[in-house]
């Protein structure tokens, strides 16, 4: 096959095909509705004529000589006995008929207007703009003319009956009549209505010849019974040819006009449904089974059509999709694959002297005995399905050079993906672990990069099919290699939620852990020896949580940092911090401080960052697995739960909260009085009214924070919500404030709620009331319960949040798409420049500093400082 050199597309021109062109591109006229003869051979000048291309293997195309697969197919044609309308253009015909003379075919406009219009159209086309408005103006003006100014013919009203009928003064216009009128139009007039007479003359809309699509686009399929089943298009073409023939016979026999007209209508119906089988007003043509036929338009239109279904998006082989669920016992680089999926997806093994025995074993196991094999490909390329009946026989036949499709098994490298794939960590390589049940299982530590949760999320899996693809996946896309996000240079995989709470509870408590418990905690971490005990109680040794945690840290790890729970004291006491918020790790031993989000959390983990940058990714991977397992065992030691009682504040605190809120509302009233008296001091750049609003908002938010502080004083580190908020596991102190003390101001577009009734937000308030309650301040806490008006304001504020997220995701999605399209072919070269595919320089040094953000320290370039510090041993 000759491979043509690619050419650049300069222009695409759309038009109509003329009857002449139809005949020219046709390789044969089709005259018979039959397809195959008794021997199953295509009939000449039938719908399956071998000149139209071939689909059966073994046959050769009579036109190009190509075999099935090589021959692209060729068009044929049917000579229609009587012309019929093309449904897709009926509306255009209506416009043209109403705008042209019924006698001389002239466009019913005066010559000067025609000239001006042509001028306008030429200019618009040159500028690449739409000519639609100008042309519609022409049709509108031409329709108004009652009389032809060229031949004085009186024009008549033309009624259009969907889809293809035209009635002029109660008299039906036959396609022949319409065609002869359109033929009279001059090339000049055609240009005025925005058409190009060389490309699309209006009479070409009335079909006299019908193109017969190549057999390659309407292949017949042979059923298992040996019977042939024809494509829907072929069925439709058979109908058209039959009616065409009957029409001709009847006309030649001089049948009455009524019968001729009926047959004409029928021919029109078949051609209409051949083009579009979903035209309103036309009953769809149906298959014998009652299913509507899929004809030309149906192939193109809609979600599953050629454009959206086949060109913009395609289905992929060797892939699987199902719901995901968590399994903390899997390694973070693993993925649990349902057995049913593992049996279906395969990897091709090439039989070599080294693996022949192994391959034979797979074949012997067959398709039902996982891990077995599903298909075998012989050296001659024939593909045989392995069944439990022929598996033994085939296993003995296997030779070198054959290929065997082996079922997926534990340890295979696959790609795992969750949409929307916004960054490269959305597709990572995992190792398979075949498991029972029907969901993909994944370690919760890899949820952040996929942004996955388990409320019904589904994910996709792809199986690389070549050694190169597998190697690439393993080296570049493995979860292990993607712990650090190139977005901010820190780990994106790490502990979440209970992982953080668990380690925090373990390392922050003074709990004494006996030997049994210590071993139990570390059971899953391959730790076989305990360090020196922290002390003895009742003659029995005990260890503390920090010691247990230290067991999963590698030797040689030195680190000092402020934990998430650090209160940001004015002068940090460092290792002497009374909150145990300063972490000191020396040679892999946690000496001081509590482990929380800053130490192990996804996005923030300092330990992981250090492990990857100064040790290796495998170690970091093991650390994540160990830390998450230890934390889960740690959290289960004491148990961890949250309930309505955790939101309880004692009565005197509640009184304080109420008092604070009352004082705040009073203060708001005073502000309003000052405003009304004109005594409010105006803020620069604001109106007095705006000033009032800002002052009120400020006062109310201050009050809400104050109530939070009051509640916070009574909710200490024994409260699980506080533990979660402080350690960074989940939630914030603000969430807790809203639950226990005061929900606070509800806002729409950053302002107090103003809309609603005339002059007031709700009919429960006086008109013009500027007070806190009347504009969406919610005094109550979630626990205490909202009043009806508060509840309503809360719903307003909540709705804004929902609308915002919906709008933001669509906008950022489109922005992302545009960015990706603009940047996708740019490449960082070895000399540090960024260049496009034409080798043009886009940036002289990538990111101006030439630094891969993945290798930077949380986006900061202090590697040099760190190296100097580590050499000199000095810490700032």
């Amino acid at each position: 096959m000759v491979i043509a050199t690619p050419k650049r597309i300069k222009q695409i021109r759309f038009g109509l095909i003329s009857p002449k062109e139809f005949r020219k591109m046709s390789v044969t006229r089709i005259i018979t509705a039959d397809t195959y003869d008794d021997d199953g051979f295509p009939i000449e000048m039938g719908l399956m004529d071998t000149r139209l291309g071939v689909i059966d293997p073994g046959l050769r195309c009579k036109t190009c000589g190509g075999r099935a697969g090589e021959c692209p197919g060729h068009f044929g044609h049917i000579e229609l006995v009587a012309p019929v309308m093309h449904v897709g253009f009926a509306k255009l015909i209506r416009k043209i008929l109403r705008a042209t003379c019924r006698n001389c075919g002239a466009l019913l406009l005066d010559p000067t207007q025609k000239k001006e219009t042509v001028e306008k159209i030429r200019v618009l086309k040159k500028m690449g703009q739409s000519i639609e408005d100008v042309v519609n103006e022409v049709f509108k003006d031409a329709r108004k003319a009652g009389k032809c100014q060229y031949c004085n013919e009186e024009q008549r009203e033309i009624k259009f009956e969907k889809p293809t009928t035209f009635i002029e003064d109660g008299h039906k216009l036959m396609p022949t009549d319409i065609r002869s009128r359109l033929e009279k139009m001059t090339d000049e007039d055609i240009e005025v209505i925005g058409m190009d007479s060389k490309n699309a003359r209006p009479e070409w809309i009335i079909l006299t010849v019908l193109a017969v699509p190549p057999v390659t686009m309407r292949p017949s399929i042979t059923l298992e019974s040996g019977q042939r089943s024809e494509d829907d298009l072929t069925h439709k073409l058979v109908d058209i040819i039959r009616i065409n023939q009957r029409f001709q016979e009847n006309r030649e026999a001089g049948a009455p006009q009524l019968i001729i007209e009926d047959l004409w209508e029928l021919l029109q119906y078949h051609i209409t449904t051949f083009i579009d089988n979903a035209v309103s007003g036309v009953p769809p043509a149906r298959h014998r089974s009652g299913r509507p036929l899929k004809t030309l338009s149906q192939r193109l239109k809609g979600k599953e059509g050629r454009f959206r279904g086949s060109l913009s998006g395609k289905r992929v082989n060797f892939s699987a999709r199902t719901v995901i669920s968590p399994d903390p016992n899997l390694g973070m680089h693993e993925v649990g694959v349902p057995l049913a999926i593992a049996k279906e997806l395969t990897i091709t093994l090439y039989v070599t002297p080294r693996n022949i025995n192994e391959v034979r074993e797979y074949v012997r196991r067959g398709p039902d005995n996982h891990p077995g094999a599903n298909y075998i490909v012989r050296a001659d390329g024939r593909r045989l399905r392995i069944t439990d009946k022929n598996s033994n026989e085939l296993a003995d036949l296997v030779e070198l050079g054959w290929k065997v499709d082996r079922q997926m098994k534990d340890g295979d490298v696959i790609l795992f993906n969750r949409q929307p794939s916004l960054h490269r960590m959305s597709i990572m390589a995992h190792e398979v672990k075949v498991l029972p049940h029907k969901t993909f299982r994944l370690n919760p530590a890899v949820c952040p990069p996929y942004n996955a949760d388990f409320d019904g999320d589904e994910m996709n899996m792809h199986v690389p099919q070549t050694e190169d693809a597998r190697a690439e996946a393993k080296i570049l896309m493995h979860v292990r290699e993607n712990i650090i996000s190139p977005r901010f240079g820190g780990p994106i995989i790490g502990g979440i939620h209970d992982h953080i709470s668990g380690l925090f509870l373990l390392t922050n408590s003074k709990d004494k852990i006996n030997k049994d418990d210590a071993l139990e905690l570390l059971a899953k971490s391959e730790i076989w020896e305990l360090p020196e005990p922290a002390g003895k109680e009742d003659g029995k040794p005990y260890w503390n949580g920090k010691q247990i945690f230290s067991q999963i840290l590698p030797k040689g790890l030195d680190l000092e940092f402020k934990a998430e729970i650090c209160e940001q004291c004015d002068t940090c006491k460092g290792a002497d911090c009374e909150n145990d918020a300063y972490v000191v790790i020396k040679d892999g031993v946690l000496e001081k401080g509590s482990i929380d989000e800053k130490a192990v959390g996804a996005f923030k983990s300092v330990i992981l960052d250090k492990l990857i940058k100064e040790f290796n990714t495998a170690l970091a991977c093991k650390f994540i697995d160990d830390a998450t397992r230890l934390s889960i065992r740690g959290i289960m030691r004491s148990g961890f739960s949250f309930g309505i009682n955790d939101e309880y504040v004692p009565a005197d605190a509640q009184n304080q909260i109420n008092e604070t809120l009352n004082m705040a509302t009073d203060k708001v009233e005073k502000l309003i009085l000052a405003y009304e008296a004109g005594e409010l001091e105006q803020l620069p750049g604001r109106t007095i009214r705006e000033t009032l609003e800002m002052e009120i908002m400020k006062e109310l938010s201050r009050a809400r924070d104050a109530t939070g502080d009051i509640a916070g004083r009574h909710l200490g580190m024994d409260n699980s919500a506080v533990i979660m908020a402080k350690s960074g596991a989940r939630g914030s102190m603000l969430n807790l404030t809203q639950m226990a003390a005061c929900v606070g101001q509800q806002a729409v577009r950053g302002e107090r709620i103003q809309r609603g009734y005339a002059g007031r937000t709700l009919s429960h308030f006086d008109k013009g009331d500027l007070g806190a309650q009347a504009h969406g301040f919610v005094k109550a806490s979630y626990k205490g319960g909202l009043s009806p008006t508060e509840y309503f304001f809360h719903a307003i504020g909540g709705r804004e949040g929902l609308v915002d997220t919906a709008v933001r995701t669509s906008q950022s999605g489109y922005l992302q798409r545009r960015l990706v399209n603009a940047l996708q072919d740019l490449e960082v070269q070895f000399d540090g420049t960024v260049r496009d595919t034409r080798n043009m320089i886009i940036q002289f040094k990538f990111g101006e500093d030439g630094i891969n953000p993945m290798n930077s320290d949380f986006s900061k370039t202090d590697a040099v400082k760190r190296i100097i510090d580590s050499v000199t041993g000095v810490k700032e």
């Binding site: 000399d831 420049t833 043009m840 320089i841 040094k845 101006e848 500093d849 630094i851």
Partner: protein
């Protein structure tokens, strides 16, 4: 186009504090630049001659300009553009 007489009071974009420094490279500098990046002049990024900074620097079509920018990541970053019509 006739050049306007410089009265010393026209707005000079190059003097504005938010406009990075634009200067014309000498022939030698251009040669070094092209060999450093192993490119032809046409592979450099472009800047239009009607760009106010180009007009202010009195650069002609075919000249190469060095733009010196303050950079958040690198401190100072150089960028080169060929002047086109």
């Amino acid at each position: 186009m006739k050049e306007k007489e410089n009265t010393g009071r026209e707005f000079n974009p190059l003097k504005h504090r938010m406009v990075p420094n634009h200067e014309i490279l000498s022939e030698d500098e251009v040669k070094n630049l092209l060999s450093e990046y192993n490119v032809e002049k046409e592979q450099l990024p472009k800047i239009r001659a009607i760009d106010p900074t180009v007009a202010a620097a009195k650069a002609k079509v075919g000249d190469v300009m060095r733009i010196t920018r303050e950079s958040k990541t690198a401190g100072i970053a150089y960028y080169y553009r060929m002047v086109i019509a």
